[in-house]
Amino acid sequence: MSKIIVKDKEISVPGETLAIGMDTLPGAGTYREGERIVANRLGLVMIDGRTIKLIPLSGRYIPKTGDTIICKVIDVGFNGWRLDTNSAYSAMMSLKDATSEFIARGANLTQYYDLGDYIVCKIVNVTSQKLIDVSMKGPGLRKLKGGRVIEVDPNKVPRIIGKQGSMVIMIKDATKCSITVGQNGLIWIDGEPMNELLAIQTIRKIEKESHLSGLTDKIKEFLEKKK
């Protein structure tokens, strides 16, 4: 019979032994070393039946299939674009995934996406070597025009979005800004100058106070006061 050493929702540090025995399974952010299950990173322990997983509290973005992310074009090649994903790995977008338009052979690819442009795209595949393929085919995936891009802690992105997008919808309503949140911690904001600033302030506040309970009410109050 295996023994789980940590309690649910406890904070673990890298290298900490979470459980001993072959009955429990290592989930995200953990690995097995012989009999033991060891934490990979700083995070909250979640025990879900037989699996132990960690919800990371810090660290950079790790690409995952299906994520919608905001990327910057860093290179234009002959058959596609290389994108900076705000993680340790860059992504590749091939011609056929870039647009539904017909692209003639030898066309100047910069007229679609140029160096320094920001785009919203979806990760379609991540190999074991962390080669990332992204696609622009899907609802809401586009090149970002105007506005600005800010960077936040990728681990706080779920809090910024809120349950079913409640938090981000609240900010959008209060500030009349268009906002797109990428899973990789880049957020695009476009609106009136002062409203943009308010949206950024609010996002920074969420980032700072993400661990507190009753966050939604607090942010609602904050937005009403600033209006």
């Binding site: 140029d114 160096l115 320094g116 442009d117 920001y118 970002l144 025009k145 105007g146 506005g147 600005r148 100058p193 002062m194 600033l197």
Partner: protein, 257 residues
């Protein structure tokens, strides 16, 4: 490269505001000047404007004068842009940015005659004091020029001579003799984006500048150095306007010294 960012910034500037909500000619806050942060240096200062953070150290060494100025000391300004302060900086010999930064700071101090070089002479034609000013950005969040030159001045103000006897310098004992500063040249970099003028750019604004002019001026508003940068030319009217802004803003910065 930054077309979208540029058009966004210009639309903000036309609405008399900026990315962080400042006015066009407003410095970031807080402006913080701290003296004597490095114990091993003869003088040092750490200056923060907004997020930008620069440490400057002053070292005094005894050396030989240049043959054409046998009774004058000298200053040497060096800057090293550490990769720690900005991901775009790389290790290795100083690049064009580091050299320009050092030279702008050097020029402000040298041409304003803030330090009387004759007072740095120990023995005519034989021995002089060399004032070595090292600029070390801790965090580059834009506007290294203004922050560095303010920090260099603050560090010089803090400088005390070490004990000197029979041609030997004892760095362990500091005398009460201070390095005298006759003037306080303050550098203000005025940026032109589109047809608007701003001061104290942040890192995003620095990516899209058309041209910049670093204006160093003294207490009475006399100019002592100018440095033009950026890819676009300036008209005479532009320069006039930029000088006015530069001299006006220098008064504000000088209060923090």
């Amino acid at each position: 490269m930054h077309r979208e960012l540029r058009s966004h910034i210009i639309s903000l500037l036309n609405a008399e505001t900026r990315l962080d909500g400042r006015k066009l000619t407003e410095y970031r806050k807080p402006i913080n000047v701290e003296h004597g942060v490095v114990k091993t240096a003869e003088g040092s200062a750490r200056v923060k404007i907004g997020e930008t953070d620069v440490i400057v150290g002053v070292k005094l060494e005894v050396g030989e004068p240049y043959p054409d100025t046998p009774n004058e000391g000298t200053i040497i300004v060096g800057a090293e842009l550490l990769p720690l302060s900005n991901p775009d900086f790389e290790l290795g010999p100083p690049g064009i940015e580091a050299i320009e930064l050092a030279r702008v700071v050097d020029r402000g101090i040298r041409e304003s005659k803030a330090i009387d070089f004759k007072k740095l002479c120990i023995e005519k034609g034989e021995k002089i004091w060399m004032v070595i000013i090292d600029i070390c950005p801790i965090n580059d969040a834009g506007n290294l020029f203004d922050v560095s030159s303010l920090a260099a001045l603050a560090a010089l103000k803090d400088t005390k001579f070490p004990a000197y006897e029979d041609g030997k310098v004892d760095y362990k004992t500091k005398t009460s003799r201070k390095l005298e500063l006759e003037k306080t040249p303050i550098a203000v970099t005025v940026i032109k984006i589109g047809d608007r003028f701003i001061v104290d750019p942040d890192i995003e604004e620095e990516k899209v500048i058309d041209s910049r002019l670093t204006v160093s001026s003294m207490e009475d508003g006399t100019l002592c150095a100018l440095q033009k940068g950026g890819d676009y030319p300036l008209t005479m009217e532009d320069i006039d306007k930029m000088l006015d802004i530069g001299i006006e803003k220098a008064k504000e910065l000088r209060k923090h010294l």
